[in-house]
Amino acid sequence: MSTHRLSRKWWLPASLVVLVAAVALGAMIGPAGGISSANWRIVWNIRLPRVALAGVVGAMLSLAGASYQGVFRNPLVDPYLLGAAAGAGLGASLVFVYARSGTSGWPVDPLPLAAFLGALAAVFVTYTVGASFGGSSLSLVLAGVAVAALATAVQQFLLLRHSDVIKEVYSWISGRVNTATWSDVRLVLPYVVISGAVLLVHRRHLDVLRVGDEEASTLGSEVRRIRLVVVIAATLGTAAVVSVSGLIGFVGIMVPHLVRLVAGSSYRLVLPLSIVVGAAFLILADIPGRVLQHGGETPIGVVTALVGAPMFIFVLRSRRAVA
């Protein structure tokens, strides 16, 4: 394990290099060909906002996933654990069903707003219900399961009665960054920056929580307060990126895992690395979608799972063989 310790300080610079390469690739590849033949305006107005949004979304989902895994001491948890995805899905469905036709005159697009509020509302209900059962991480997780099931059921009921919007809703749920504009990036960036700063402050606390709620409290940590603050911050960031990109799955679980496999599981390293690797991963995952299908695009949420899952299994297997 000594090589693993020695190389620790190189992980962050190395992952930053990968991120820069991903940004360059993301700017160069597209239906209009290489960068030389493309108009710079295409790069600036179409490809770069898309790269930027993919980076921000990937970074946020990975960071939120790692943070959730820390406060719930469960590596299989993702940022949608407490109902954020189901809430956002329900919020978006409500807009597609009831408000889509007459929204062009609205001052703000109601779709991201509804998804954002839906995600926050679902997690708020989960936390309130879970706290009334004692507030342990298990009661929160169980409350999250119930709230997500309820929101999904309502959403399905709605969609069955308005089957004309099912395709749009599922397209939204699959996630996308291809319609990204700089204003999307500007919209989510403040939330992501605040959420990211708060979560990074808590990386040492997450390491203390690794010995369990009880022992962490005998070491002087106020476990419930830490969990509440981390969940609020992670949820705020997640809700913000979901509102513009839809439900991109798998990133929030997979990226922190990849990071742990190579760099160990101290949250001091896992959180910052998840930001960089998550951004690079989603930028790269956005590239095949542009060229796979002629005429249309494959949703990025589909690509993350299609490309990510086999890669993840491969990394897990090769790591086992080494260890």
């Binding site: 040492r204 022992e215 005998t218 070491l219 002087g220």
Partner: protein, 259 residues
């Protein structure tokens, strides 16, 4: 050195009363060992002081109520070694012991040079230097137990609570762990309260024993006073013979019922 006082301490789980009106005064530098059959309330008393189960009554350190202090201040006064600590497999020994410095680090802060130097010193003194970079999952039970004690030492609390510190160890490592606690107690003037099942070891290391039965203290005093065959028979339902060695050691030996 600090004293630890219990005034009419009650612990209950739901409707189940685990500890009734436990009152005791542990003197500075004293080692009190709680003994008694399973479910007698030994762990409950320790867990109440550690703040992980709710209690009624009063717990004082040097005469001042412990629970009027913040969790961080409490953790700087009382270090708790649980019966089965949760030790993440992929955390290194050094990272684990460093957690003992948590009470001294502000919410937005991180470990200082002093914290790291202190942990390195603790690892040296406990002969654990070799485990600083080893992952906990690769260590044996005895090695892990010494790291848990090292974490408690790094906490620099004057009061040390040990819940069954030797239950998972073989006889050699039991002795090693208790010798370590005894040495630390002398070097740092620690006040120790432990819960133990092995009566001979309890009598060997503790200054005073308190025998609990169904949440009540039924005997308290030195080993020769508490470890009597008739007392143990009454509260443990066992048949034992008790030998007194010339050096004052009290040895409790179970007797096989006649065949």
């Amino acid at each position: 050195m600090s004293s630890l006082g219990f005034e009419c301490l009650n612990v209950r789980y739901g409707t189940q009363e685990a500890l009734y009106a436990f009152t005791d005064q542990v003197k500075p530098g004293e080692w009190l060992c709680l003994i008694g059959p399973n479910g007698a309330g030994k762990s409950s008393a320790l867990r109440a002081v550690a703040g992980i189960v709710p209690h009624r009554g009063n717990i004082t350190v040097d005469g001042a109520p412990l629970f009027e202090r913040s969790p961080r201040r409490r953790a700087a006064l009382v270090a708790y070694v649980p019966q089965s600590p949760l030790m993440p497999d992929d955390m290194t020994g050094g990272e684990y012991v460093l957690l003992g410095r948590n009470p001294y680090i502000g919410y937005f802060g991180s470990e200082t040079k002093h914290d790291r130097a202190l942990v390195a010193d603790v690892l040296d003194r406990l002969d654990l230097r070799a485990f600083a970079d080893r992952r906990l999952g690769t260590l044996s039970g005895g090695e892990r137990q010494r790291l848990v004690i090292a974490r408690a030492v790094a906490q620099e609390a004057p009061i040390l609570l040990l819940d069954e510190p030797t239950s998972a160890l073989d006889i050699g490592h039991q002795q090693q762990a208790l010798e370590l606690v005894d040495r630390l107690r002398r070097e740092h003037g620690l006040t120790v309260v432990s819960a133990m099942h092995d009566l001979t070891l309890a009598g060997l290391y503790a200054d005073r024993l308190a025998l609990l039965h169904q949440g009540h203290v039924v005997a308290s005093g030195d080993a020769a006073h508490v470890l009597r065959p008739e007392t143990l028979s009454e509260f443990y339902g066992v048949s034992v013979s008790v030998h007194h060695e010339p050096d004052g050691t009290v040895v409790v030996v179970p007797r096989r019922s006649s065949v």
